[in-house]
Amino acid sequence: MPTTEPLAPVMPPGVAAVLAEHARFLKGRGAAAPPWLQELRARAVDRFTALGYPTVRQEEWRFTSVAPIAETAFRLAESGPTNARELVERVAIPGAVRIVLLNGRFSPELSRLEPPSGVVVGSLARAVADARPECAHLGQASVDAPFVALNTAFVEDGALVTVRKNALVEPPIHVIFVNGDAEALMIHPRALIALGANSQASLAQTFVGGAGRAHFTNSVTEVALGENAVLDYVHDQRETDEAFHMASLHVAADRSATFRARTVTLGGRLVRNDFMAVLGGEGAHCTLDGCYLVDGARLVDNHTTIDHAVPNCTSHELYKGILDGRAKAVFNGRIIVREDAQKTDAKQTNRALLLSDEATINSNPQLEIFADDVKCTHGAAIGQLDEEALFYLRARGLTEKDARDMLIHAYAGEILEGIPIEALRGQLERELFVQLDRDLADHR
């Protein structure tokens, strides 16, 4: 019996534009890629064509409509933002190994490589051309996720960071993504981070937006941690308030490896962080902590998946949001404990502070536990600033503004304090408070 193919849905203008851009890309600057990369892209573009942009009818995207992305005809960037240098200087970390990507492409001028021994950093395009073995890690993130498929279809350049086994890297590694320009651009940067056994490093990815039209950043970061490796990772997102920011992170942690992530989201009109960590070796640990400030009519969606695939792994997750105006936030924390993964210890907490009556958050813990000897806890707390605490501080002489700032500082501080790169922590604290002052001023 012949199977009935479902009718192809009407292709949104954004998808048609993406496919047109992709055809142009393959004939143009994408043409030089080695066959394996061509295949990777071909599979990905097929997958994206089949999937299309997600809609709110899909469970995973129920509260987050990407219609504004799907309806826009974005173009691939031909060059970097004109004010790139100034933006890089604003966020640069003194003493860091710096990789700068301008609209997804490696900038030798603005990067400051000189890595310490045991570290290889540079352009992903170059690594592909040189057929470096680390490129084998490309493509761990599943193209069943539409935005990963889209990124992979355009994979071309990005950042490569390799830390050799036993290397203890002192200076932080800073990958700066400078995105956007006068046109409505889409940027599909890729970062590949591989740490060898017993190595340790700290790495931050900072996303900043250039002036101009609203752009669409669609980044994919893949992290492979060898046995006993330790990575402190910061996802620092300070794009413009008009930007679309889709970030996918895929982490594979081997035996006794530790991955500690701090995600700070300050910018973006429509933000989705899809973070997935697979704890695939016994004794592996992952921390996913995040804080975000969202105001106006913006939306920030944090979707996390922690896959406890083997026994004796631990995970710890704490997300804290500050919402103002008519902002929306989504938190979905999925924890999978596989049948064999006994003695799993997983803790998940989601908190949100609502500074206005119109702000909303949808919070959903999603525990899928197939083992019987595990410890999994989750909790959510949504609310306003503690009025009694506010009064207590004011009754000792602090103005209402100072009292509020102090409470919010304490609230966000729990996440920011975990950022091991001091200069970056300072920058983020300042920026958070500048933004908060602006919000609170609107209340008065």
């Binding site: 503690d386 009025e387 009694e388 605490a389 009064f391 207590y392 501080l393 004011r394 009754a395 000792r396 002489g397 602090l398 103005t399 209402e400 100072d402 009292a403 102090m406 409470l407 500082h409 304490a410 609230y411 501080g413 729990e414």
Partner: protein, 253 residues
């Protein structure tokens, strides 16, 4: 001129009339005790003076150093020298006790047109006061009241008071829940601060505290009104007779 003049103060909380016309004058250097049974409005009186937003003044006036106290925000009152030691000090995770206190001290100093204290001068100031209240380094560096025992919380309140050096201190049931050792420490801290230009209003349910902080005046609050005022001996009388007689007194008035 008296430091504080309360005239016919009427206060509502959660749609209930609690204070029904309280009048009281406090001069510099005096210690006034406000006593009364549960629900008489003692804590409401203290919180209304501090400007708690949950307490609505429906009538009456409060003049503090010639100014309209009720017209001031809670923080202005504090910067003007009014201090309330909380009955239930609030735990504030993530806010360092010493850091907060420094912000409070400097807010007041700025208000008075004084130069702010730097970290060194501030530490010197609080070390001295901390010793008096037996507040250790740990309590200074922990989050405000977080994980403090009942006694530690009350000691911390009086420690804040000692550092902020108020002109008018209102102690809201500072003695409740304290064992005798903690009570002595707290009382010692208060007594060390008694001064000709400073006044205290001590709100308490029990006369025990008044053995250690000897008041100049004792007032008895019942059903939102001051029904009797007297000297220290009134507290002793209450200790002996309890509050039961108030019902008859109330019926008589």
């Amino acid at each position: 001129m008296s430091l504080l003049d309360v005239t016919n103060l009427q206060v509502r909380a959660e749609d209930k009339q609690i204070l029904r016309g309280v009048s009281l004058s406090v001069n510099p250097g005096e210690v006034h005790a406000i006593m009364g049974p549960n629900g008489s409005g003692k804590s409401t009186f203290a919180r209304a003076l501090a400007g708690h937003p949950g307490y609505e003044v429906t009538d009456g006036a409060v003049t503090y150093r010639g100014k309209d106290l009720l017209d001031m925000s809670p923080d202005e009152r504090a910067r003007e020298g009014v201090f309330m030691a909380f009955q239930y000090p609030v735990e504030i995770p993530g806010v360092n006790n010493a850091y907060f206190l420094k912000a409070a001290v400097n807010a007041k100093r700025r208000h008075q047109g004084l130069e702010e204290l730097d970290a060194m001068d501030f530490m010197a100031l609080i070390r001295e006061k901390a010793k008096l209240l037996q507040v250790d380094e740990g309590m200074l560096q922990r989050s405000v009241n977080e994980g403090f025992s009942g006694g530690e919380k009350k000691r911390n309140e009086i420690f804040h008071m000692a550092v902020l050096e108020p002109t008018l201190a209102v102690l809201d049931e500072t003695d409740s829940g304290l064992d005798i050792d903690a009570l002595k420490i707290v009382a010692h801290g208060v007594n060390a601060m008694r001064a000709p230009d400073r006044a205290f209003i001590v709100v308490t349910h029990y006369q025990r505290l008044l053995n250690y902080i000897v008041p100049d005046f004792v007032h008895v609050l019942s059903e939102g009104k001051l029904v009797r005022s007297g000297g220290r001996e009134l507290a002793l009388e209450l200790e002996e007779k309890g509050y039961g007689w108030l019902e008859t007194a109330g019926a008589r008035s």
